[in-house]
């Protein structure tokens, strides 16, 4: 880590590869109900967090407690986010309202081929693809995505609208 703080990319890559299985273990142990994809998400989140605060590591202090504190903190944060989201959901056995009209986006709702969807996303123009990745896949807010991509919120809204329309057209055609 000391070498990584000095800008040694190889040492840093070696270190991150070495700790990744340990991070997976930590996440598995604390979240046994997670799917493997959720575990990987959490591991990636810890790696990003570690990268963000790597200046706080002191060579005079042990590395593992430093890493474990970050991992546990990020896990607690994700649990808080999960329960906050859950608190806004209402569980019902039956919907109390019957809808007179057909639900919107029926064809999109019934579409269930992630492979074709991934191909269709790959085929989008770069701006639209980035918008889909940031807003739909990474679930960033419009503001965060605008900062990350260096564009305006308005431009992102246009891109995502066009991307969804293009995807819908492409998938229905296929």
């Amino acid at each position: 880590m000391q070498a990584a703080q000095g800008g040694d990319m190889r040492a840093y890559e070696r270190l991150l590869k070495e700790i990744t299985p340990k991070l997976r273990q930590i996440v598995w142990r604390r979240r046994q109900f997670f799917t493997s994809e959720e575990v990987e998400d959490q591991v990636q989140d810890v790696l990003l967090s570690l990268h963000a605060v790597r200046a706080t590591f002191s060579p005079g202090r042990p590395f593992m407690p430093w890493l474990a504190t970050i991992a546990h903190n990020r896990l607690a944060d994700s649990a808080r986010r999960y329960y906050r989201g859950k608190a806004n959901e209402v569980q019902v056995d039956e919907f109390p309202v019957t809808f007179a009209e057909d639900p919107a986006n029926e064809e999109v709702e019934s579409y269930r081929d992630p492979g074709e969807l991934a191909n269709a996303i790959r085929g989008l123009p770069e701006g639209q693809r980035n918008a889909i990745e940031m807003l739909k896949l990474r679930e960033m807010s419009l503001k965060e995505a605008a900062t990350a991509s260096g564009t305006s919120v308005g431009a992102l809204k246009v891109s995502i609208h066009r991307a969804v329309a293009t995807l819908r057209k492409a998938l229905i055609k296929e």
């Binding site: 790696l47 605060v53 200046a55 407690p65 990745e133 990474r138």
Partner: protein, 228 residues
């Protein structure tokens, strides 16, 4: 949702691993903070004009004890705040300022009891809202310096870290204020000065997530990694 293979992410992180300036040890950062805050506090106290009975007060044991306790609370809270943003430290370090804070409270409480024993004349509570802006003014620059320094660390416990930072700045502010503000009745100091310190600490805790948050840090890392 996973958007990138973990191995790929590691490669990207390694490519973006520019050299970073290591954060100094918490006690070193505490000393740096005092070096920034102390001249400002001294300047503000000098501008507010020191109290006329300061010479006599410097030989008053209770005054000295409370000043040492206020200063120690501020310094211990600063050290605890700087420690709380470094992963791997024992979380109990947040309790560090409790000891001097207790000495401070006990001294003020004992003063109130003495006033009560002497017939309660010293227990008259008058309005002194001036304490709030005065302590806030003396603690303003230390508070800003504290917030900026805390943001260099990991936002592990935002509310606790900023509460400790607020206590540090308010404690130092109160320490400075008593050199210029001739208010010595224990009950007045307890309610108005200690009350202000408590209020500013609570306000700082409330601002925890505004000052310390993982989200902007991670957004910044993602931005540097680029799309994909």
């Amino acid at each position: 949702m996973t958007t990138m293979d973990t191995d790929k992410l590691i490669e990207r992180l390694a490519e973006n691993a520019d050299p970073v300036r290591r954060l100094a040890a918490p006690w070193v950062r505490t000393a740096m903070w005092i070096a920034i805050a102390a001249p400002y506090v001294a300047l503000v106290v000098a501008m507010m004009a020191p109290r006329s009975d300061l010479q006599a007060k410097l030989s008053d044991f209770r005054f000295l004890l409370e000043q040492v306790a206020a200063l120690s609370t501020g310094v211990a809270a600063a050290a605890a705040a700087f420690t709380s943003i470094v992963p791997g430290y024992d979380r109990r370090v947040a309790l560090l300022p409790l000891a001097p804070l207790c000495v401070w409270l006990v001294s003020l409480g004992e003063g109130c009891i003495q006033a009560l024993a002497q017939g309660g004349a010293g227990l008259d509570l008058e309005s002194d809202f001036g304490c709030i802006p005065a302590i806030a003014l003396v603690g303003a620059l230390p508070a800003v310096a504290m917030a900026l320094m805390l943001r260099k660390g990991a936002p592990l416990k935002p509310y606790i870290s900023t509460a400790l930072g607020g206590l540090a700045a308010a404690g130092l502010g109160n320490f400075g204020l008593r050199f210029s503000h001739p208010q010595d009745a224990s009950v007045m100091v307890l309610v108005w000065q200690m009350g202000t310190v408590f209020l500013l600490t609570m306000l700082s805790a409330w601002a925890g997530r505004l000052i310390l948050d993982w989200r902007p840090l991670l957004t910044n890392v993602r931005r540097n990694l680029g799309p994909g």
